[in-house]
Amino acid sequence: MSDIVARTLKILTIVVIAVWSLFPIAFVVVSSIKPPGDIFAYPPKWLFTPTLQNYVDLWLEFGEFFQTLGNSIIVSIGATVFTTAVGFMAGYVYSRYSGRLIAASALYMIAIRLLPPIVVTLPLFPIVSWLRLSDTHIVLILLYSAFWVSLVTVILKTFIDEIPRELDEAAEIDGASQWQILMRVILPLTAQGLAAGAIFVFIFAWNEFLFALIFTTSQAKTAPLVLSEVMDAIYGTSWGVLFAGVTVQLLPVLLLVILANRLIVAGLTAGSVKG
């Protein structure tokens, strides 16, 4: 008897979790293919004729969105590549070397990352405009990288730890330089770690709002920022267009999270809170 109760409770929990996680996302995606008049019908229209009109309107009326999407792509890829490269080199050092300085600087890397980002924008704001870097891709790439380099370093350190030191030593005896060991021995064996680190940076950069709000105005504006502006100025039927834009912004990362969820789990376990 209690077995049946337990099983029912378990299934109920699972259903609740699934609905909780999926419903808001499904709402956006489904709304984007609803006729604009049906989106906010109450009671909700579960049956409707799907339409791509919202996407057509998005393309025709909201060209700025695609420009900002391009900026998002540049900034996200730039930050991902830069952070992964820098984190890979540092991760190797933290894996293969030890000592007081190594331990202290590792702790410092993690500690500094905990500062609230908005606080750091205050001193950076005048410097960025003095360097004429406001509203450029570079400023976002550097900021996103700075806030993720610590975690990526820790993730890669954990993955590089798995590679036997004997491989480094054998290559060294064969006369390989440190850089050659890093590029020819370690790099090919760290693919999974690089991918795990890269995913976190990419998702963050793709979705980031605060830095984009403060440091970009037009040229380097990213997709989340322009969506938030439209959200504030919304009226009537343009909800359909907005939902289409949101779906376009969301879908690539959604697929990434679903397909690469094992890497995210592995990265998080490797990276954050073993202690």
Binding site: K10, T13, I14, I17, A18, W20, S21, L22, P24, F27, F40, Y42, P44, V86, M89, A90, Y92, V93, Y97, S98, G99, S105, A106, L107, I110, A111, I112, R113, L114, L115, P116, P117, I118, V119, V120, T121, L122, P123, F125, L142, A146, V149, W179, I203, E208, F209, S228, M231, Q249, L250, V257, I258, N261, I264, V265, L268, S272, V273, K274, G275
Partner: protein
């Protein structure tokens, strides 16, 4: 293990240069900024502690601090409780576990902007699917008028978005508990609930503690959810500290007062973080990190 040589310094240099230039040096500079009057961070005039006195004398600051305290505590504890519950259900064995984990991770893909937009439209009291239903059930959230209702919605949004993260931390902790302990408990005739409270929970305390501190540090930054949902209104009633700081800095250009608030936030973060770092440090000494 080798002691650091020139090559090691060169390889670690880019990461440290990046951190120093974009986070560490600016963070120290905030302290100086907070002792000066300035417009958008330029034309500094030294004013001593007067920015701090101004901030402390501002009722909006205290309101923002109070809101931050309640919202952050609410978010963290609800989230950790839900995460523990879900992890316990998953660990106890469910069909399609990998699929379920992928589903739980889905909100992690949504940006803050998308998350707020979705919940804002779902919870709209006049046309939102959930908002209307809640009103019909007599449990409506009047979040566009009532500050406390708005902050509850901010909490719901934030929990929705960050639950995947807390879940993964706690799930990983639960998976690390040796199977033999469960087998021993089963042999002793312990039921599922008894096993959870007598075996799982005590061994999970360090993980939960770390997750709590971690979430505190990150929830403390809370900005976008509030800014995008209410803009801090009505009448600055729903501001949290980061929104208060943002308004001072980027709307009024008063970087001195904003830096004072910022420095207070840094101290607040450090208080939470030091507990976390103490755990990390202990872990490193034992060689687990």
């Amino acid at each position: 293990m080798k002691t650091p040589d020139r090559g090691a310094f060169l390889l670690a240099a880019p990461a440290h240069l990046l951190l120093a230039l974009t986070i560490t040096i600016p963070a120290v500079y905030i302290l100086w900024l907070s002792l000066n009057d300035s417009t958008f961070g330029t034309q500094l005039t030294f004013v001593g502690l007067s920015n701090y006195f101004d901030v402390f004398a501002d009722p909006s600051f205290w309101n923002a601090a109070k809101n931050t305290f309640f919202v952050v505590n609410g978010i963290v504890y609800v989230e950790i409780l839900l995460a523990t519950l879900i992890a316990a259900v998953l660990v106890s064995g469910v069909p399609f576990r990998p699929v379920l984990i992928a589903i739980i991770l889905v909100p992690y893909a949504a940006s803050e902007v998308v998350t707020v937009l979705v919940w804002k439209s779902l919870m709209n009291p006049s046309y939102g699917m959930i908002g209307r239903t809640l009103i019909d059930l007599g449990m409506g959230l009047n979040w566009s008028v009532s500050p406390s209702d708005a902050l509850v919605l901010v909490g719901i949004i934030s929990v929705w978005q960050h639950l995947p993260f807390s879940f993964l931390l706690i799930y990983a902790g639960m998976m690390a508990i040796p199977k033999s302990l469960y087998e021993a408990a089963a042999i002793d005739g312990a039921g599922a609930i008894q096993t959870f409270f007598k075996v799982t929970l005590p061994l999970l305390v360090p993980t939960i503690l770390v997750a709590i501190i971690f979430r505190f540090v990150f929830a403390f930054r809370l900005f976008s959810e509030v800014w995008l949902l209410t803009g801090g209104g009505p009448a600055r009633m729903t501001e949290v500290l980061a929104v208060y700081l943002y308004r001072d800095a980027y709307r009024t250009g008063d970087f001195g007062a904003a830096a004072a608030t910022g420095w207070l936030m840094v101290v607040g973060t450090l208080l939470f973080a030091s507990v976390y770092l103490w755990f990390m440090h202990r872990g490193m000494r034992n060689g687990n990190v």
